[in-house]
C-alpha cells in the first residue's frame, strides 16, 4: 500500500480567522482534479471526521504517518489542530491536502481522504474550535484525538468534546500517571453523560485482557477465579515518572478489581520498586502487587508479566511477554495439573491500526470507565498513605 499526499495550497495566512468557504472550495477543486483523471480511479471516502489536537509542531510527522494508516482503514476528513498556547503572537493559519492510499490488491484504485491543518498560536488557540466546527463533515461521526492530557477546565478541550461523538486519549503519555489517572476518573465521572472516551493505552491492553479472560472461559478452570488472592503485575517503569506505577499496569488492576468486585482497603505498602495494595472481595483478601522491572528501551510503561494465584486452590495463571517483546506466553496450573502452554503474537497492530480500531468504535466502553474509576480509588489510597 502506498500513500500520496497532495497539498493543494501553500499555507494560507488568515490572521483574523479561517476562511472556511475558501478551504472547502480548495478541497472541492482537488477532488475535481483527481476525478478528472478517470484512469486513476480515485475514490473519495468519508466515514468520519477526526479532529487531532497537538501542542507539538514536531508531532506533525508522526501524525501524518498515523493518518496514512487511518486513511487506509477508516478514510475521512482529518482536522489537525497544531496549538502553540505559549506564543505571544495570536495567529490562525489553515491549509488543505488530500491523502490517498493505493489499495494493495488490484493496484490502480486509490482510497482518498482529506485533511485540513490549522495552526493556532497565542490567544487564537481558544478560538480554534469555532474554525473547526464549520469544517466538520455532516452525517458522519466526529472523533477528537486529544494528544495531550485532558483537563476538565480547559475551554478548548471542552468545546471540542462538545463537538465530538468520541474522544481518544493515550494514558501512556501521562506525565504524572497517578494524579492524571485520578483526574481522568473524576472527568469521566463528571462528564459521563456527555463524553465517550477511548484510550489507546487501553487498546494496547486488549491482548492481555483477552488472554487472561480466556483462562476462565474453560468451565473446569472457572471456579479458581473466585479464589484469587494474589496478583503480581510487573511493568517497565515510565521514563517521565520512574517512581510511579505505569498507567497500563494500574488500568489492568483497575479492570480486574472492577470486574471481580474487589474493593480497595486502606492497606498500602511501598518498598523499593514494589507497591502493594490490599483489596477485599467479601471475606477474601487479595494482595495486589506492582513491581517495576529494569528499564528497557522500547517498552516504556508497558506490562511485562502478569500472574494471578490462589493459595486455597493452588491455582496459578500467568501471562508474560518474551525476552524480545514479540510474543506473549501463557501458562497455568491448578494443583499439580499443568495446563497447556501457549505462545501468541504480542501485538499485531501498529499504532495507526490501533488508532483506526478506536475510530471504528462508537459505543460507550463502560468496562474502561469502571476500570479508570477503580484506579482512581487505588490512587486515593496511595495518596492518603
Amino acid at each position: 500500500m502506498s500513500t500520496e499526499i497532495q497539498q493543494n495550497s501553500a499555507a494560507k495566512s488568515v490572521p483574523q480567522g479561517v476562511d472556511v468557504g475558501r478551504l472547502e472550495k480548495e478541497l472541492a477543486a482537488s477532488w475535481q482534479n483527481a476525478g478528472g483523471a478517470e484512469e486513476s480511479g480515485v475514490t473519495r471516502v468519508c466515514v468520519l471526521n477526526l479532529i487531532v489536537y497537538t501542542t507539538h509542531r514536531e508531532d506533525r510527522a508522526e501524525i501524518d504517518a498515523l493518518l496514512d494508516v487511518v486513511t487506509a482503514h477508516v478514510p475521512g476528513r482529518a482536522l489537525v489542530l497544531v496549538a502553540d498556547r505559549d506564543s505571544t503572537e495570536a495567529k490562525l493559519e489553515a491549509y488543505v491536502s488530500t491523502r490517498c492510499q493505493t489499495e494493495s490488491k488490484g493496484g490502480a484504485k486509490q482510497i482518498c481522504g482529506e485533511q485540513v491543518t490549522i495552526e493556532a498560536s497565542g490567544a487564537q488557540v481558544e478560538t480554534a474550535a469555532s474554525a473547526i466546527e464549520p469544517l466538520v463533515m455532516p452525517d458522519v461521526p466526529v472523533f477528537l484525538w486529544w494528544k495531550d492530557i485532558p483537563h476538565e477546565d480547559d475551554k478548548l478541550f471542552n468545546r471540542l468534546v462538545d463537538l465530538s461523538d468520541r474522544v481518544v486519549i493515550d494514558s501512556l503519555v501521562f506525565d504524572h500517571p497517578h494524579e492524571d489517572l485520578k483526574r481522568l476518573a473524576q472527568l469521566i465521572s463528571e462528564r459521563r453523560q456527555y463524553m465517550l472516551l477511548s484510550d489507546l493505552n487501553w487498546g494496547r491492553l486488549t491482548s492481555w485482557r483477552n488472554l487472561l479472560a480466556s483462562f476462565w472461559d474453560v468451565a473446569d478452570y472457572r471456579p479458581a477465579l473466585d479464589h484469587i488472592d494474589n496478583v503480581l503485575i510487573e511493568f517497565d517503569p515510565p521514563d517521565v515518572a520512574p517512581d510511579e506505577i505505569a498507567p497500563q499496569a494500574l488500568l489492568l488492576a483497575g479492570w480486574l478489581a472492577s470486574c471481580l468486585k474487589w474493593e480497595p482497603t486502606d492497606e498500602f505498602a511501598r518498598e523499593g520498586k514494589s507497591a502493594r495494595w490490599m483489596m477485599r472481595a467479601g471475606e477474601r483478601k487479595i494482595n495486589v502487587e506492582f513491581r517495576a522491572t529494569e528499564d528497557r528501551q522500547g517498552s516504556d510503561g508497558l506490562i511485562a508479566t502478569l500472574s494471578l494465584k490462589s493459595g486455597a486452590s493452588g491455582a496459578e495463571f500467568n501471562v508474560g511477554v518474551n525476552e524480545t517483546w514479540t510474543k506473549l506466553e501463557t501458562s497455568a496450573k491448578i494443583g499439580d495439573a499443568h495446563m497447556v502452554k501457549r505462545v501468541v503474537s504480542y501485538e499485531a497492530k501498529s499504532e495507526g491500526e490501533r488508532l483506526s480500531r478506536e475510530l471504528s468504535m462508537l459505543s460507550r466502553d463502560a468496562v474502561y470507565e469502571r476500570a479508570v474509576a477503580s484506579v482512581g480509588g487505588l490512587v486515593e489510597v496511595l495518596q492518603k498513605s
Binding site: 475514490t43 471516502v45 466515514v47 487506509a72 482503514h73 477508516v74 478514510p75 489499495e103 490488491k105 482510497i111 487498546g203 486488549t206 491482548s207 485482557r209 483477552n210 488472554l211 487472561l212 479472560a213 480466556s214 476462565w216 472461559d217 474453560v218 468451565a219 473446569d220 472457572r222 477465579l225 479492570w255 480486574l256 470486574c259 471481580l260 518474551n322 514479540t326 510474543k327 501463557t330 495446563m339 497447556v340 502452554k341 501457549r342 505462545v343 501468541v344 503474537s345 483506526s356 471504528s360 468504535m361 459505543s363 466502553d365 463502560a366 468496562v367 474502561y368
Partner: protein, 514 residues
C-alpha cells in the same frame, strides 16, 4: 451461548470477543486439497487471532500412511502457500504444531475408529480438550454415510458428560433428491440434527451475512423489498475457470448440482425470506425454508420456456485461449453436461407474486463475479422526456458477494449544465474502502461458528432437500432431452448462450453487465 461464558466476568464489554470451548477438530480426508488450502490455514488463523483457546487440537485422519511430523511439515508449507499472510510465525507455529496430530484412518475400518478414540482420549488428557469434538468430513461424498455410521457405532458420535460432538459435512449433499434424503436418513440414525453442520462456504462470506443486516437493520429498504417496487431480481454467479482437472466429477454433476441448488439457493433464500422473529439459528433457517417452499415448481413446460442450459465451447479468457468443455480432461467428447444454467424462478407468495428472479450460474464466463441485482420499477410518471435521458435505467441495488464485496445503489442524477440532462450515477459502498479491513475467510467464520455451536450459517435438512426438490424436474427434463442439447452453445469468455438474452428480452428486460 453456554452458561460458562456468561459467568466469566472478565468477558464483559465491547472489546473482548468470546473464545470457543476447548475441543479437538478431527479432519477426515486430511491429505486432501481442501485441508491444506482452506481448513488448516483457517484453523491456524483462529489460533493466531486467539479465537480458540489454548486447549485446542487438530487430528488429521486419512488413509495415507504418514507420520504426525510429516503431516505438520505439510501443513506448515500449506499455510505459507495458501494463507492470506503467506507466512508462518515460527514461535506461534511451534505452539500450534504441538496440538497438530495425524492418524491413519480408513473410513470403512471399524478398528481405526478404536484407535482414533484412544488418540482423542490421550489428547483430552494432554491438552485439556474436555471431550469436545468436531468431525470434519472432507472426504469423497460417497463416504459421508459410512463415516457417520462408523462414528456412531464406535461411540464417537455420542457426547460424553458435559461435552459435545458436532459433524461438519462438505458439499455436495447428495446427487439428487433421493440420495440426499437417503443420506439424511442414514446420518440421522447416529446424529441429532443439532449435531449436523452442512457447510456451504458461500454463507461464510461477509457480504452474504451482511444481507441480513442490510435488509433488517435498515428501515428504508424493507418497505421497498416487495412486488410493489421491485421489477425483477438478477442473481449472477459467474466463474472464469473451467473444470480444473475435475472433469470426471463435473460430468456427473453439472452446474445445477454443483452450484445452483446449494450456494445460489442459499443466497436466493436470504434475498427472498421474510424478517425472522429473532436472530437465533432456528428462526433464520425457518424463514429461509419458508421462502423456498413458496418457489413455483418447474414443470417440463416451464423448463423449456423459463430455463436455459449451456455448455462452453473454446474461446478466450483474460486474453488467453481456452479449450471447450468437451476438450477438457475426463470429459466425454459428446458430453451433454451443462456448464451454464439460467433459471427463472417465482415465489408464489404475497411479497413476491409475479416478480421473476433470474438466476444464472456458469463456468468460463467473461468475469468472476457473484452478485445480486435488485431492479426496481420505473418511476410511475415519466416527468422527464426522452430527450433529457442521456442515460437512465431503473434504479438498481447491487449487492456484490465476490470479488470486491460491497453494495451499489444506482440512481438518476442531473448532469451539471444549463439544460436538464439525466444520467445514472452509482452510490457505492465497498467493504475494502469503508472498513479497510481484511475480510475473514469464509472457512474461518464457519469453523468458528461450529465450534461455538452456532448453526445459523449452515444448511438444515429441510433446506438441502428443498433445494433438490426444486431442481429435480429441471435435471430430469434435461436428462430426458439431452440429445437435443445444442452444445456447445456459448463461447468461453462470454456471458452464456444467446437464449438467456431472449428470455429477458421478451419481457422488455435486459441483463446487467456485472
Amino acid at each position: 451461548m453456554s452458561a460458562t461464558v456468561l459467568e466469566n466476568p472478565l468477558r464483559a464489554g465491547v472489546r473482548l470477543e468470546r473464545t470457543a470451548d476447548p475441543c479437538v477438530v478431527v479432519i477426515f480426508g486430511a491429505t486432501g486439497d481442501l485441508t491444506k488450502r482452506k481448513l488448516v490455514p483457517a484453523l491456524y488463523r483462529l489460533v493466531q487471532e486467539r479465537l480458540v483457546p489454548a486447549e485446542f487440537a487438530i487430528v488429521g485422519a486419512a488413509r495415507t500412511e504418514i507420520s504426525s511430523e510429516e503431516f505438520r511439515a505439510n501443513m506448515k508449507e500449506a499455510i505459507v502457500q495458501f494463507s492470506e499472510a503467506k507466512s508462518v510465525d515460527d514461535e506461534v507455529w511451534e505452539s500450534f504444531a504441538q496440538g497438530l496430530h495425524y492418524l491413519k484412518v480408513d473410513i470403512g475400518t471399524s478398528e481405526d475408529y478404536g484407535k482414533l478414540s484412544e488418540k482423542l482420549e490421550q489428547i483430552d488428557q494432554e491438552r485439556g480438550t474436555q471431550g469436545n469434538r468436531v468431525f470434519y468430513l472432507s472426504t469423497a461424498p460417497a463416504l459421508y454415510a459410512e463415516a457417520v455410521k462408523q462414528l456412531g457405532q464406535s461411540g464417537l458420535a455420542k457426547p460424553k458428560d458435559k461435552g459435545w460432538v458436532r459433524v461438519i459435512i462438505e458439499k455436495p449433499f447428495g446427487t439428487d433428491l433421493a440420495s440426499a434424503q437417503a443420506l439424511n436418513k442414514d446420518i440421522h440414525q447416529h446424529l441429532d440434527e443439532s449435531q449436523i453442520y452442512r457447510i456451504d462456504h458461500y454463507l461464510g462470506k461477509e457480504t452474504v451475512q451482511n444481507l441480513l443486516v442490510f435488509r433488517f437493520a435498515n428501515g428504508i429498504y424493507e418497505p421497498l423489498w416487495n412486488r410493489q417496487y421491485i421489477d425483477h431480481v438478477q442473481i449472477t454467479n459467474a466463474e472464469t475457470v473451467g473444470v480444473e482437472g475435475r472433469g470426471g466429477y463435473y460430468e456427473k454433476a453439472g452446474v445445477v448440482r454443483d452450484m445452483l441448488q446449494n450456494h445460489v439457493f442459499q443466497v436466493l433464500s436470504l434475498v427472498a425470506m421474510e424478517p425472522p422473529a429473532s436472530l437465533n439459528s432456528e428462526s433464520v433457517r425457518d424463514e429461509k425454508i419458508k421462502a423456498m417452499t413458496a418457489v413455483r415448481p418447474f414443470t417440463p413446460e416451464r423448463v423449456r420456456t423459463d430455463c436455459v442450459r449451456g455448455q462452453y465451447g473454446s474461446g478466450s479468457i483474460n486474453g488467453k485461449g481456452v479449450p471447450g468443455y468437451r476438450e477438457e480432461e475426463g470429459v466425454a467428447p459428446d458430453s451433454a453436461t451443462e456448464t451454464f444454467a439460467l433459471l427463472t424462478m417465482y415465489f408464489d407468495n404475497w411479497r413476491w407474486s409475479g416478480v421473476p428472479f433470474y438466476i444464472r450460474s456458469g463456468k468460463r464466463l467473461a468475469k468472476r463475479v457473484t452478485e445480486i441485482a435488485i431492479q426496481f420499477k420505473d418511476a410511475p410518471h415519466k416527468l422527464f422526456g426522452s430527450e433529457m435521458m442521456e442515460q437512465m435505467t431503473p434504479n438498481q441495488l447491487i449487492i456484490r458477494v465476490q470479488p470486491d464485496e460491497g453494495i451499489t445503489l444506482r440512481v438518476a442524477a442531473k448532469v451539471p449544465g444549463q439544460v436538464t440532462r439525466i444520467r445514472d450515477v452509482n452510490m457505492d459502498f465497498r467493504y475494502g474502502a469503508s472498513f479497510g479491513v481484511q475480510l475473514a475467510e469464509a472457512y474461518e467464520r464457519l469453523l468458528l461458528d461450529c465450534i461455538l455451536g452456532d448453526p445459523t450459517l449452515y444448511a438444515r435438512t429441510d433446506m438441502t432437500e428443498r433445494g433438490w426438490e426444486i431442481v429435480m424436474p429441471i435435471l430430469e427434463e434435461w436428462a430426458a432431452t439431452k440429445k437435443d442439447a445444442p452444445f456447445p452453445n456459448y463461447e468461453a469468455g462470454t456471458w452464456g448462450p444467446q437464449a438467456i438474452h431472449d428470455i429477458l428480452g421478451k419481457e422488455g428486460r435486459r441483463w446487467r453487465r456485472p
